[in-house]
């Protein structure tokens, strides 16, 4: 791939041919404010917040403008600053001011952008505020949809289309009445939505927000325990509880994608019905017992049924190390090859 050199705000940077100005900037850690862009998706160029001035004459959107050798870009040109500040003011004037109780607070792209472009209370007070009042869609068990917070960046629509190919949602209506919608704006749970949550993680505001989300204290990188794809996950931990699962963007298998089970099906981990002590059946009922009691009984019984009177069924859900020891135990200790697992089911 050939390299080109462009200048952004006086700084010369090199970029790959075919990159957009925004990508080139981001690759060098330069921030150009934007709302509708997402690295996984094709650029849309709709929020108009990433406008820059090119070669001192043309206002263009950096997310769609391909780099060209010798190109000179200004992000601080007065005309550009005015357009993007007005644009962000328009969005904020159309957005509920409920930041403190908002799911996205602190993690909100709109907050970040508004701060960056210099939105002020005085500036905002000039505008007429008319927030759309559309009832929330709370039908999905894992996330809520709040259209009043939606900035119509279309990231969710493009995610559902370009990445998931599910197309549960699309733009509907037009102009100021535009909204992201299922057929007939029916509850999302009644659509073909597969609840993968890919749109939820990409929503720059809290128009799509996980239900009852808890911010984890720290994250642990691991592998999903459901199907054989082996998606990389980040288990969010708070105390001794898994409170969230995110896709691991660095994992080569899923590159961050997850399905509904992988992302939201984690509550079994801290489920109250988890077994926490050994149980021994006494008079037909299972009763709590100590490990010693249980192990003694097992050792005694297994010792009496060595050879082909014994069989072990390992599991396709436990680790390689677990499986290795179980087959070793069966073969080396119990003296039989009667070991299998549920691979076939």
């Amino acid at each position: 791939m050939s390299k080109v050199t462009i200048t952004i705000d006086g700084m010369q940077i090199s970029a790959d041919e075919g990159m957009t100005v925004l990508e080139a900037a981001q690759a060098h850690g330069l921030y150009i404010p934007n709302l509708c862009n997402h690295p996984d998706l094709k650029p849309a160029g709709l929020c108009r917040v990433c406008v820059v001035k090119m070669d001192d004459w043309k206002v263009t959107v950096s997310c769609k403008q391909p780099v060209k050798d010798g190109m000179v870009i200004s992000t601080e040109d007065p005309e550009v600053q005015k357009i993007r500040r007005n644009t962000v003011e328009l969005i904020v004037a159309d957005h509920p001011m409920t930041c403190l109780t908002c799911e996205a607070d602190g993690n909100c792209e709109l907050q970040r952008v508004a701060h960056y472009v210099g939105v002020t209370p005085e500036g905002l007070n000039r505008y007429r505020r008319k927030i759309r009042n559309i009832p929330m869609d709370r039908s999905n068990p894992f996330f809520d949809i709040d259209h009043s917070k939606c900035i119509l960046c279309g990231i969710c629509v493009r995610t559902c289309d370009e990445l998931q190919n599910i197309n549960a949602i699309d733009y509907a209506q037009r102009g100021v009445t535009s909204l992201i919608s299922t057929l007939g704006n029916k509850p999302i749970a009644d659509s073909r939505c597969e609840s993968c949550g890919e749109c939820v993680v990409r929503c720059p505001v809290a128009a799509l927000a996980p239900k009852g989300a808890q911010e984890p204290m720290y994250e642990v990188k691991s592998i999903c325990s459901y199907c054989g794809v082996g998606c990389g996950v980040m288990l969010g931990v708070r105390g001794q509880k898994v409170v969230s699962v995110e896709g691991d963007r660095n994992n080569p298998v899923n590159k961050g994608s997850l399905c509904v089970k992988g992302r939201y099906g984690y509550k079994f981990i801290n489920h109250p019905e988890r077994l926490s002590t050994p149980l021994i059946k006494k008079n037909g009922t299972l009763e709590e017992a100590s490990w010693d009691e249980a192990l003694d009984l097992i050792a005694e019984k297994f010792s009496g049924s060595k050879g082909d009177k014994f069989a072990a069924l390992a599991s396709a859900r436990i680790t390689n190390e677990d499986n290795y020891l179980i087959q070793k135990f069966t073969r080396a200790v119990m003296g039989t090859n009667n070991i299998d697992h549920c691979a076939r089911l």
Partner: protein, 151 residues
């Protein structure tokens, strides 16, 4: 109903580019686009239903609920506007007892404003059912309705 619509849609089987003509045909058949009809179009074309809905709601021509027997369209083109279309609209709203964009409870009347009908020289213009009425005066709308509404 599925059969009725299938007959209308059959020439377009598998044609993704014919979505708008299909919606027009279905609306011609039903008077509006029901959810069931849009689902059927999605199935016929292999398009996601959200997309069918997205396209249909983009265009002003399509309706999503049953319409009145009589349809009154008040032209809101520029020429009509400067010649008092807003007053004509208010007068029709009062006369029919419904607001623009709605249908009366007995499904007798639907009232809406439309972008220019291209009869600007006759402004202000009102179209009742198929009849174009030009140079409408607010004091005479009862006569217009009388002339054009269906029994």
């Amino acid at each position: 109903m599925e059969e009725r619509l299938s007959a209308v849609l059959s020439p377009y089987e598998g044609r993704k580019d014919a979505l708008i003509p299909m919606l027009q045909k279905v609306q011609e058949e039903l008077g509006y686009l029901s959810e069931e009809a849009m689902l059927l179009i999605a199935r016929t074309t292999g398009m996601p239903e959200s997309h069918v809905y997205g396209v249909a709601t983009f265009y002003a021509q399509f309706y999503f609920s049953r319409r009145g027997k009589n349809q009154t369209k008040i032209c809101s083109g520029t020429a009509c506007h400067v010649k008092g279309a807003a007053r004509v609209k208010d007068a029709f709203e009062r006369e029919l007892g419904i607001s623009c964009g709605s249908t009366s409870a007995d499904y007798e009347h639907s009232l809406e404003t439309v972008a220019c009908v291209g009869s600007c020289a006759l402004a202000p213009v009102v179209v009742v059912n198929e009849d174009v009425h030009g140079q409408v005066q607010t004091g005479k709308i009862d006569k217009i309705l009388e002339q054009s509404i269906k029994d």
